[in-house]
Symmetry: none
Subunit: 207 residues, 4 copies
């Protein structure tokens, strides 16, 4: 019952799995769940179909692993971006830019994630919600920090968190869907301005 392969396994990370995961991501991300066939994934990476089933329970399992990987990546990027800021305001700026960049660079992956988030499959929906929550959590804690140290007003934490995420998300897709490159400096500043200072001209206009 010796398992010599184990060393190899250890060295590759879980080589087989990872390799499949990457190939699958490429295709799922390009074509979506239903337009992708398992045959295609196997062919694309030059292995037999059965091999995939030695590493994943099925097409769905593989797909969810791809999605999860993508969200983990986003969450990580957001966390790192927040960490690089000196104060809440700078952290938020970093979050906005980081999210914009991620959405533009990983456009297809994000599409996959959002599709799933808005999909109607209960099980997957649950997963998507959990994943979204982990991203929102990063944003929320930065806003909370800003409120705590007096930088930000005492806005509703939940609403401001989802609002910020939404501003960036829809704006990013507004550009992406039109095939226009995002000018980070400009867009980032635009969103930040609205988020920090609002759109009203007059102080007196404040509610």
């Amino acid at each position: 019952m010796t398992k010599p392969q184990f060393h190899k396994t250890l060295k590759n990370g879980q080589g087989g799995r990872t390799k499949i995961l990457k190939s699958a991501a490429d295709i799922f991300v390009r074509k979506g769940y239903h337009q992708t066939t398992v045959d295609e994934i196997a062919r694309a990476m030059g292995v037999a179909k059965g091999t995939i089933y030695n590493h994943f329970a099925g097409k769905e399992d593989l797909y969810l692993a791809v999605i999860r990987g993508g969200v983990d990546l986003l969450q990580e990027r957001l966390s790192q971006a927040a960490a690089r800021g000196k104060n809440a305001r700078q952290k938020i700026m970093n979050l906005i830019e980081s999210q914009l960049r991620f959405f533009e660079q990983e456009k297809d992956l994000v599409l996959l994630f959002l599709t799933e988030f808005f999909g109607r499959d209960a099980h997957r929906g649950r997963l998507a919600i959990d994943m979204l929550s982990s991203c929102l959590e990063v944003i929320r804690s930065v806003i909370a920090e800003g409120i705590g140290d007096g930088t930000l007003r005492e806005v509703d934490l939940e609403i401001s968190t989802s609002s910020l995420f939404g501003m960036v998300t829809v704006t990013a897709f507004h550009f992406i869907s039109q095939g226009r490159p995002i000018n980070y400096g400009e867009v980032c500043a635009g969103i930040a301005k609205i988020f920090f200072e609002g759109t009203c001209r007059e102080q007196a206009a404040r509610i």
Copy 2:
């Protein structure tokens, strides 16, 4: 900006098309495109499968008609909401509330629309983008009005439009996905406050 199909569909008496459209909407909206079968739609409305093909080119055609109808409805609601406001600020308040209500009431329909918007089918994507644009257009014109009459600062029109739509959208789904009812007054005020006045405490903090 004409949406003749939808109105015609609703009003013309050759009920065939309309009847099918309604039944199909119920099911597509509840189960999504891929989980819905043509058999099911036919059965639900008590006609034979072939009948559907006498009115629509195929499943996809029927589906797109459903989606289009949904977006036309949203666009109409937003237009009406904007029209009810006396000034830009009030119009924006109405837009926010109107969108929140629509998303909560027509949750499944909106999911369908968003899924499609984020989906990867080129043809459908084009459609989705057009549809989104028609909604954003309503918002954009109100913001432009506010800038024009001096109520709002000279923010970037595109960014502020997509930001507002994004704030409402993600916040709405944040609640919906958790099964929590939306307290319109509160949420609406929260979003408006951020959109109008920003989150920064200090005037000096302004960029």
Copy 3:
């Protein structure tokens, strides 16, 4: 009437074959040929799949070895039972009881054997027939002995042999399939009575 394989299998020390055979028997017998996977057998005995192929030509080969072992066991039991009787009549009583006990105790194994016997694979069918013959042979020789010494009438040897085996077999399964325990004394006596004396009341009724 030699059964070298089975004994060798049981006794030789190259435990590999024997060990596999036993594990495989457990599972084949419990789940049948098609519901059993080679993986499962390997997992159950803690060896790698490849190991099985070092000892058996394939799944089918392994399966046939299991079946053969089972039939050899039945034949052996019947032989011993017959040997324990003082005369033909007593031997037949012993055969009936022995078969009943074997069928009840080794229910699943017998099922496997019977399934194969009634199956449609030519090669396996041949095997099954040979195996059945070896069992019937034991019965036949005892009946022949009874006829020879005048205990039994000159009934057709073939028909009486298969009849006796059939009486016991179907009766056993009649009980087993209903999950009822077999009362050996009673059932054995019931079958024996019919086999020895028939069911007719009147001597005159004799054909």
Copy 4:
């Protein structure tokens, strides 16, 4: 893409189902469940695979329908045979011959049934048992009639029923498996003699 079969279909009443059933029976009966593919059945009857699924839930459903049809046929034959007899004794003679003829003529169908009866699938097993019961019931009632009118001794009803069925079944297969034709007069008489009068020479030998 012509479907000339349609006319035939309409004329058969539930022609579709019946026609499929017959074709399927031919193949299942010849090759057994696992060696038969749905493709093959479809091809053999010149319809598309999908057509089969319009009439049966799946391969298993189709298979069970075939089996059930076979057993119904046997039960019917036995009933008719019993009905043709003037008294219990004659009825039993008829049952024996009828069963022998059925087994020889419908050899493969019976094999299928017996395989299932001895198989290990719980659900199918239940079905098989129910089916066997319906056949045994015919035999049982005739034996009961014989006991009631004094023709037969008061043997155990259950044991004698299953014994008779078993005598005929195993004897039939003893011949069939060797490819020998069954001489009905002789075999029938041989079994009947044993069943009615037993194998013992002496009256005194009676237990």
